[in-house]
């Protein structure tokens, strides 16, 4: 036990010493950078913290996948970045930097300008992003003129180019169509065109394919990957589908109960997870149980906000939990190249073992 505790404290030191630089191994000049982001919701029963000290970077041309159970704070973190938190939820502390500039405390009007111009957004339900009463060509042209100094005609031309880029068949004839005249998959393409029409440097896609069929999902994911590559955009892809993460993301951040459990290159995190939660999550997929009659399961459920356990929030469910886990919150510790896990007793799995 004694040497284990020693182990923790040295890792903790390593973790803290590493923190101020690029904590998740991103490049020096990330497009988006979160530092100790805390989102709070004051309620009658006390202050809830759906996001509790999250730090990560996303670079140009990179897709960061964000995964975690429902309620882990994935959407809250994304909404905090774009200033779309529903009051009374608010950023309580920490920083959000876009190309090096702090944006977490910009006034609402500035934030609105930034949204659309510098940060595009795609949500699960395309209809939330579209005006049902306006033809899509109008919506695109309007958004383009709002953000770019172009003439009406040029805005129309760009709208058409945008629709062609996202693969709307017969785009020229569809400029005057209304959102309800498109299928779900085509609508999501229109939303992507809308999110990208002002040429933002950053795209936040929150469950963009969750409501779509696999064949359409494959089309949309291929589209996002291509656009990310061609435009050198930074993309935050929030999803709970591990398959989508594996195929689309360069790096993945795993959230648990509002905190970052693990982050790193996608193949490293998925095949050799170091945080026991990631390990359990990967293990509970049908792929991991191939040939077994029963799936591996993590016992229990994620704690509810306001009922967070002391120390590591995962300790009531963790097979490796030790007394230290309920005493102090584990800080991110370097596990490998750009791979961090916030755990006192990280897994020491051989590569491959976990996902097989």
């Amino acid at each position: 036990m004694a040497d284990r505790v020693q182990g923790i404290s040295s890792r903790l030191r390593e973790g803290t010493a590493h923190k101020p630089a690029a904590p998740d191994g991103g490049t020096d000049k990330p497009v988006l950078s979160l530092r100790d982001l805390v989102v709070e919701i004051p309620t009658r029963y006390g202050v809830l913290r759906p996001v509790d000290g999250v730090s990560y970077d996303i670079s140009a041309g990179e897709i960061l996948g964000v995964v975690g159970e429902s309620g882990a704070g994935k959407s809250m973190a994304g909404n905090a970045v774009i200033g779309l938190l529903d009051p009374p939820a608010r950023i309580a502390s920490g920083q959000v930097r876009l190309n090096g500039e702090s944006i977490e405390s910009l006034p609402r009007s500035e934030m609105r300008r930034l949204r659309g111009k510098q940060i595009g957004m795609v949500f699960q339900d395309p209809l939330t992003s579209l005006n049902p009463l306006l033809p899509i060509g109008e919506q695109l042209a309007e958004t383009i003129q709002e953000h770019l100094p172009v003439t009406r005609r040029e805005a129309r031309a760009r709208a058409l180019a945008g629709l062609e880029e996202v693969g709307i068949p017969g785009a020229a004839d569809r400029l005057d169509s209304y959102p309800h005249e498109f299928s779900g998959g085509m609508r999501q393409r229109v939303v992507i065109a809308l999110a990208l029409c002002a040429e933002p440097c950053m795209l936040i896609a929150d469950e963009p394919t969750t409501a779509l069929d696999v064949s359409v999902q494959a089309q949309i994911i291929a589209l996002l990957k291509r656009l990310c590559r061609e435009r050198g955009m930074a993309v935050m892809l929030v999803t709970h589908d591990m398959g989508v993460i594996a195929e689309a993301a360069d790096r993945v951040a795993v959230m648990y109960a509002g905190r970052l459990a693990e982050i790193g290159p996608v193949a490293d995190v998925l095949t050799a997870p170091r945080h026991p939660y990631t390990y359990g999550l990967m293990g509970s997929t049908p792929l991991a149980a191939r040939g077994q009659r029963r799936l591996n399961q993590i016992p229990g459920a994620m704690p509810r906000l306001g009922h967070m356990p002391e120390g590591c929030a995962f300790h009531p469910r963790c097979p490796k939990a030790a007394p230290a886990c309920s005493q102090s919150v584990p800080q991110p510790v370097v596990m490998g190249d750009g791979h961090l896990a916030a755990c006192h007793f990280p897994m020491t799995v051989e590569p491959q073992e976990a996902a097989q």
Binding site: E69, D241, A246, E247
Partner: protein, 322 residues
């Protein structure tokens, strides 16, 4: 292996016309949507039969016809040898119906928020005038909740726990067949694992048969003994699970398998499938898959392929061979 359920030429047509007056004014024809068309298959006793296919392919409509929530437009559902539509002996029909239960995707919507869990779980038995004393408590323990939960209300439970409550309710009338319509699609993978394990355990212990409806191929591969693949209301391929995954013969099945994201396929560049599911009110002529099929030939535009035996599978494709 005896079939617990025999489905023959099952068909369901919905009238989706605009109201009569609009039709007259706008001179629109009647619009009929064929949600399920001439579907025939057997569900062997104590097995898991999975129906897969994309949105709108008719999975839920078949499920509802099997449990009797929706009358077929044509064709038959026969359960334990009783044809639910034509059987004259009403007592026998009622008896058979009580052996079938359904679990839905949304564990939130399918639980009455004002009822205590005890009453929700015992409802199928209470409705038949059966003995419910201690029943809910016993069933809750069977699905991994505690007897003390019987006095609580649905909102006090998480999504996975609510699905357990739905399963407990489905078990109350000692069913032999449970139709599970996307039972874990609203749940996280880790919660899904708990629920699927529970379903497997119960199947083994109680000798249940499942009609398992889902679009998640990974879940199907884990759970199913036999699989039917639906496209626009028709069965396009049917085979034992292992056979289907080892050798998908229908171009649509192959497309589905290729398009499904894979957890072990890092950075895979898929050549995404072409197009989307066509409008079911005006389905394509011939083989309904032809506009998206990479190997379609002229014949496919005119002649609809019948479901026929191809090796150990049944396939509806002109070009399929063993």
């Amino acid at each position: 292996m005896t079939a617990l359920v025999r489905i023959r030429h099952l068909t369901r047509v919905f009238d989706v016309s605009k109201p009569w007056l609009n039709r007259v004014i706008e001179r629109l024809p009647k619009a009929l949507l064929t949600a399920v068309s001439d579907v025939t298959f057997d569900i062997p006793e104590r097995q898991v039969y999975a129906l897969v296919g994309e949105s709108g392919s008719g999975k839920s409509t078949i499920g509802k016809m099997v449990v009797g929530l929706l009358p077929p437009s044509d064709g038959d559902v026969e359960i334990e040898g009783v044809n639910l539509a034509s059987e004259a002996d009403k007592a026998r029909v009622a008896e058979t119906r009580s052996h079938i239960q359904m679990i839905f995707q949304d564990p939130y919507a399918s639980l009455n928020p004002r009822w205590r869990v005890r009453d929700i779980v015992a409802e199928p038995v209470a409705a038949q005038g059966g003995e419910t004393n201690g029943l809910a408590e016993r069933l809750l323990e069977q699905v991994g909740l505690s007897a003390a939960d019987a006095g609580k209300y649905p909102h006090e439970f998480s999504g996975g726990q609510r699905q357990r409550i739905c399963i407990a309710r489905a078990l109350a009338s000692e069913p032999r067949l449970i139709v599970c319509d996307e039972p874990t699609s609203a749940l996280d993978v880790s919660v899904q694992a708990q629920v699927l394990n529970l379903m497997s355990d119960l199947q083994e212990k109680l000798g249940l048969t499942y009609l398992f409806i889902t679009h998640d191929l990974a879940v199907v591969q884990h759970m199913a003994d036999r699989i039917g693949v639906l496209y626009l209301g028709r069965l396009v391929e049917e085979a034992a699970a292992e056979e289907l995954f080892a050798r998908p013969r229908h171009p649509y099945t192959q497309m589905l398998f290729d398009a499904a994201p894979r957890m072990d396929a890092f950075g895979r560049e898929v050549d995404p499938p072409k197009g989307e599911i066509p409008d079911p009110i005006n389905p394509p002529t011939g083989c309904a898959f032809h506009p998206r099929c990479p190997i379609a030939v002229d014949r496919c535009l005119e002649e609809r392929p019948e479901l026929r035996a191809v090796g150990p599978a049944r396939v509806a494709c002109h070009l399929a061979d063993a």
